[in-house]
C-alpha cells in the first residue's frame, strides 16, 4: 500500500513517455475498475490502479521494485475492462522486462527464476519445452533442498511428481530437436538486444 514519505514526490513524465509506445497510461482517470476485478490483489503490495498512477508520476523505483508486477497472473481482466483502453496487463509485462534489464532485484525471485528457467529450457531443448527438465532445473537453481526436506515440502513435491509420472504425464525425456533449431537459436540471439536500444 502507498505510504506517505517524508520527502515530497518528484513527479516525472519520462516513464509514461517510454510506455506510450505500448499504451497510454495518461488516459487513466482512476476509476479503479482494474483493481476491482483483479483476482490477485490479495498477493500484491500496490493495486493495479496504483501501479498505473505511480507509473504516470514517474516513480520508477517503486513500480520496478514492487511485488505486484510479479504476482500478476496476466489474466487480462484489467485490460479487458479498462474504459480507456489502457493495456494494464501489458504495463505489468513491460515493467517486469524493464526491472530485469535495469538489474533490479526481484521481490519474487522464485517467480522471476521460473520464467527465466522456462526460456532457458526451451533454448536448451532445441525449441520445445521439456517439463521434467524445467522442473529439475528450477529446483536445482533454487537450492534450499535441505530446508525443503525438513519442512516436508520436498516429499510433497516428489509425491506429486510421482503421481504424474505413473500416469505417464511426466516422463524424463527431452522433446526432439526441431529441424529449425537454427531459427530458434537466432530468435533467442536477437532477443538479447536490450530494449533500451529503441529509445531515442
Amino acid at each position: 500500500m502507498l505510504t506517505t514519505s517524508k520527502e515530497p514526490m518528484e513527479p516525472s513524465f519520462s516513464l509514461a513517455e517510454r510506455l506510450a509506445g505500448l499504451t497510454s497510461v495518461s488516459a487513466c482517470y482512476q476509476c479503479k475498475k482494474c483493481s476491482s476485478g483483479c483476482p490477485l490483489t490479495f498477493a500484491m503490495d500496490f493495486y493495479p490502479d496504483q501501479v498505473i498512477r505511480l507509473a504516470l508520476l514517474g516513480q520508477e523505483a517503486q513500480v520496478l521494485g514492487c511485488r505486484t508486477i510479479w504476482v500478476c497472473s496476466s489474466c487480462e481482466t484489467c485490460t479487458t475492462r479498462c474504459p480507456n483502453n489502457i493495456d494494464i496487463a501489458g504495463v505489468m509485462d513491460w515493467l517486469k522486462e524493464e526491472a530485469i534489464l535495469s538489474g533490479q532485484a526481484s521481490p519474487q525471485p522464485e517467480v522471476t527464476r521460473f520464467h527465466q528457467t522456462f526460456l532457458d529450457t526451451v533454448r536448451l531443448a532445441g525449441g520445445r519445452l521439456s517439463e521434467p527438465l524445467l522442473l529439475g532445473l528450477y529446483e536445482w537453481r533454487r537450492g534450499g533442498t535441505l530446508r525443503k526436506l525438513k519442512s516436508g515440502a520436498l516429499v510433497a513435491d516428489l509425491r506429486m511428481a510421482w503421481e504424474l509420472a505413473r500416469r505417464r504425464r511426466l516422463v524424463p525425456r527431452l522433446p526432439h530437436r526441431l529441424k529449425g533449431v537454427k531459427e530458434i537459436k537466432d530468435i533467442f540471439k536477437k532477443s538479447h538486444l536490450p530494449a533500451k536500444q529503441e529509445k531515442p
Binding site: S74, D93, E97, T112, L129, P132, R169, L170, F188
Partner: protein, 291 residues
Amino acid sequence: MNVSYYPGCSLEGTAIDYAASIGGVASLLDLTLTELDDWNCCGATAAHSTNHHLALALPARNLALAEAAGRDVVVPCALCFNRLKVAEKALKGPEGANLGIPYQGGIKIWDLLDYLTQDAYLKELAAKVVRPLTGLKAVGYYGCMVARPPAVTDKKDAENPQNLERLLQVLGAEPLDWSFKTDCCGAGLAVARPDIIDTLVQRLYERALRTGADCFVVSCQMCQANVDMPQKRIGKQFGKDYYLPVFYFTELIGLALGHPDVKKWLAGHLVDPLPLLEKIGVRFQVPGVRF
C-alpha cells in the same frame, strides 16, 4: 475435414491425457488434425513476462508454418492460442516489419473449444450421442486465455461465454451457470507460488459447490491441472473434503458418444472421476486402469 493442429508443449507432456481425448474425439467426428510440422514453443507466460522480442518471435514462427500449410489452425492450449493471436495481430500491424516474417494472414486461428462447438459440430454431436450424461451437474470453467482480451482473441463474449454450456446440453448433461466461469486459476504461478493457486482455486471450489455443481468441465489444460492436482492439498488447508472431478470437455464428448478409451483418458486425472460417473449411472464394461 482437415485442419492444422498446434498442440503446444504441455500436450506432449503433462497434458498427454488431454491429447489422447482430443485424438479420440477427432476420430469420432471424421476430423483430421494435421500437426504443424516442426512447430516450436509459443513462449507461454515466460516470454511475454520477460522479453517482448521472444514473446512475438516464437509464436510468429508457428504462424508462418501454419500459413505455409495453408489450412486453418486449431489450438487446444488456451495460452498457446492467446500467444498465436497476439502474434497474428502484431504481424498484421506495424510491428510485422520488425519481425521479418512475411505473413498474409489468410488462415484462421481457432481455440479447440470454439472449433468443436460450432453449430455444425453441435448438430453432429447431438445426432451421435449414445449415452446422454443425464444427471451430471457441471460448471463450465473457461479460464482466462481463450477470451481475454477480446481485442486479441476476437471473441464476442469474453465476460459470459456460453459455448461450453451449449455443448454440455447437447451431451445431455446439466450445465449450471455461475459467475466464476472466467476467473483466473493462477496459471503459470503454480510452480513458483502454489499458495496463490490454493487461494484462487479454493474460491472456485466454493463457488461451484454453492451453485450445486458436482464437477468442473474445462478446455484449458493449465486450468485442469490447477483445479485437479491440488484438490487434496487445498482441502486439507481449508479443513474441507473437496470432491470435484475436473473433466476435459473432449472426455465428456467421448463418454457421451461411446468412445472405448474414455476410462483410460480419465485415469490421467488425480481426482478420480469414476465414483461421480458411477453415481449418475455410467458403467464401464471394459476393466481398465485402476487408480
